[in-house]
């Protein structure tokens, strides 16, 4: 029955898709990124990084002689858009692999990845729930590592004993806030209030007025993208003079340039703005590179390495299962930011820096080395 139906549908579609027959063309992979919306700045970096990697791979002869083609899709921070994009990539483009980003979209597409045996690699989302998922690899540490570091640092070294929280009401924001409460509490700090905000909102005054009334020594912003800049500006405007803090995902151009965010305490993941990669990125895209550009450059390179291995093993064919097995067997990859070893939970570990945002740059005060 199924074959007859399939035949029928194939026939019905022949008119529209003459090139549907299999021939050894380019290797197509997906990239589901925040190209629009409040996180569009991340999208510029992520897409640029992947693009640069693909160009370099192709200039060096491709993967086992085949060109690499990246198909970019926009999720605009919305998981249901990511699901639609993933279905298209899997069902129409038949990709064996896709780059992905953000926590909620990645969690939403992971069951599709498992069902269709397609590997997804996330270089941006940091929710703890992204760990230990089949067919999902994260070349970034989960946020609890970073939040743990900064919560300790704020409570013990900066002696900020009580905090109020502004939290983006999505997977990433809430997950970071939850970890912050646990680790800050364990380090002797006290969370006085928490207010949730929408990621695409532009007016946070009611929420800020509410947390302001609770006092405290610190405002922790568990959000990311453009809205952190608006939150910081409106907080200052409302007369909130508390020190503010966040994690590495606040480091986007809008925030680094904003007046309100000056002096914000933050973690940072290792990124060298003077590297050859950063210079090349700046030449090509006329904008400064950031951490996430390196992340997606590396993730694409990791795929190329794994795909080469998988093709060697299978003698030509490339599928998601092969890529997965190759990643599992290689495990340690050389990247431009050092050696990356996938842990048993499918995640990565990195050094974490803590410091203060001053004049558009983070002045690092302390580096917490990744456990070997």
């Amino acid at each position: 029955m199924r074959t007859i139906l399939s035949a029928f549908f194939t026939f019905a579609l022949l008119a529209g898709s003459s090139a549907a027959t299999a021939q050894p063309g380019p290797i197509k992979i997906g990239a589901i990124l925040p190209l629009t919306g409040s996180g569009a700045s991340y999208g510029v970096w992520m897409k640029g990084g992947a693009e640069m990697a693909a160009e370099e791979i192709n200039a060096a002869g491709g993967i086992a002689g085949r060109k690499l083609e990246v198909i970019y899709e926009d999720h605009a921070a919305d998981a249901s858009k990511a699901v639609n994009a993933m279905r298209r990539l899997v069902e129409v483009e038949k990709v064996p692999f896709s780059l992905t980003s953000y926590s909620a979209p990645t969690l939403a597409i992971q069951p599709i990845a498992v069902q269709n045996k397609v590997v997804i690699m996330n270089g941006g989302g940091q929710s703890d729930n992204l760990a230990n998922k089949d067919y999902l690899y994260n070349n970034i540490p989960v946020v609890s590592n970073e939040v743990g570091v900064i919560a300790d640092w704020l409570a013990k070294e900066k002696k900020l004993a009580s905090a109020v929280l502004i939290v983006a009401n999505d997977e990433a924001g809430r997950n970071a806030a939850k970890t912050f409460r646990e680790r800050y509490g364990a380090a002797g700090g006290k969370v006085l209030a928490e207010e949730q905000v929408a990621l695409d909102a532009t007016d946070f005054r009611a929420q800020l007025a509410k947390v302001k009334a609770r006092g405290g020594d610190l405002l922790f912003i568990s959000s990311y993208g453009r809205n952190v800049a608006i939150i910081a500006d409106q907080a200052r405007e409302l007369g909130i003079t508390l020190p503010m803090a966040g994690t590495s995902w606040i480091l986007v151009p809008e925030v680094m340039k904003s007046k309100g965010a000056e002096g914000i305490l933050t973690t940072r993941l290792p990124f060298d703005p003077n590297s050859a990669f950063a210079k090349k990125f700046k030449d090509k895209y006329k904008t400064d590179a950031g951490f996430f550009a390196v992340q997606y450059y590396s993730a694409t390179m990791i795929f190329a390495k794994a795909a080469q291995e998988a093709i060697k093993k299978s003698g030509g064919a490339l599928n998601g299962e092969g890529v997965k097995n190759a990643i599992e067997s290689i495990r340690a990859f050389d990247t431009i930011s050092g050696k990356l070893v996938f842990q048993a939970n499918h995640g990565a570990v990195m050094d974490i820096e803590v410091g203060t945002l001053k004049g558009g740059k983070v002045e690092v005060e302390k580096i917490i080395k990744a456990a070997p």
């Binding site: 019905a12 529209g16 997977e171």
Partner: protein, 292 residues
């Protein structure tokens, strides 16, 4: 590619159910609702949560969805249908806003913006319906069922009372019909069917989050009804087919998605205006002059 066509047909089936059920209000009762996406979402969430948390599976989930959908609709219909039509537009918009906030903010239940992944596929006599083209038959079966229910309703004595109310509410009232009760009943039936579509969607996509049930979705469903033609039962089905084909056609034009999504909406908006200007009475039934 076959999977893609199957996906298209499943979506046509789901939207046909939504449009048929909304048409009971817009076309047959003269009630304009902006909350059908909320009802659709209530169905999707009720069914998904029932399956994920209570383990009742697709069929039980769908029954619960229909019940919850009808109940939510009654809550809004009872106060607002007592008064004039414009009030219902605003009240239904209110329901849309409130429900979206519930999906978004009642995070313990709905998981908020992050949504609910891993919703099980339906099972029929132990056979899991997980291939897109199998789902085409399931969606089609429900679309036909909805069509049959609507046909039954609109061709019954109840249906004639409805149309009498739509055409002249005062006269219907004078004839001793309980106008408010009839309207509330039809709002509940319409919502139960709309919620069923939500259940079909949730178990098909296997993932839901609030953004699938926002206001623009309500406007889209109303557009299906109006452009397809609300006077005939087949109208909404034709509407669903044509309007869902537009974005698919746009995909072949290699427009970036950031432009394609608003472009779709622009086409829908323009179609609404053009249809209203060119043949309003052909769409919403016989010409009825403004009561001035």
């Amino acid at each position: 590619m076959t999977a893609y066509l199957a996906h298209f047909l499943v979506m046509v089936g789901i939207y046909a159910i939504l449009a048929l059920s909304l048409n009971l209000l817009i076309g047959y009762s003269g009630i304009f609702s902006l909350a059908h996406a909320a009802i659709y979402g209530i169905g999707a969430y009720a069914s998904a949560l029932a399956a994920l948390k209570l383990g009742v599976g697709f069929w039980g989930g769908m029954a619960i969805a229909a019940g919850v959908g009808a109940f939510a609709s009654a809550l809004v219909a009872i106060p607002s249908l007592r008064v004039a039509g414009d009030y219902y537009v605003v009240a239904s918009f209110g329901l849309q806003v409130v429900m979206l906030a519930v999906f978004m903010n009642w995070t313990d239940l709905t998981n908020g913006h992050a949504g609910l992944p891993g919703i099980p596929r339906p099972k029929l006599f132990g056979w899991v319906i997980d291939q897109p083209f199998e789902y085409v038959f399931l969606a089609a079966a429900f679309a036909v069922l909805t069509w049959a229910i609507c046909r039954r309703l609109t061709h019954s004595a109840f249906g004639r009372v409805l149309q009498a109310i739509r055409d002249d509410e005062i006269a219907a009232q004078a004839m001793g019909k309980n106008v408010v009760l009839v309207k509330i009943v039809i709002a509940c039936i319409s919502s139960a069917l709309g919620a069923m579509a939500g259940s079909l969607y949730a178990h098909y996509i296997t993932y839901i989050n609030p953004s699938s049930f926002a206001l623009h979705e309500s406007i889209f469903i109303a557009t299906l009804v109006i452009l397809g033609g609300s006077e005939r039962l087949a109208g909404p089905i034709v509407g669903a087919f044509v309007l869902l084909a537009i974005p698919e056609a746009l995909k072949f034009l290699a427009i970036p998605d950031t432009v394609a999504a608003p472009m779709r909406q622009i086409i829908y908006g323009a179609l609404l205006i053009i249809f209203m200007l060119v043949r309003p009475e052909g769409i919403l039934g016989r010409a009825r002059a403004r009561a001035q």
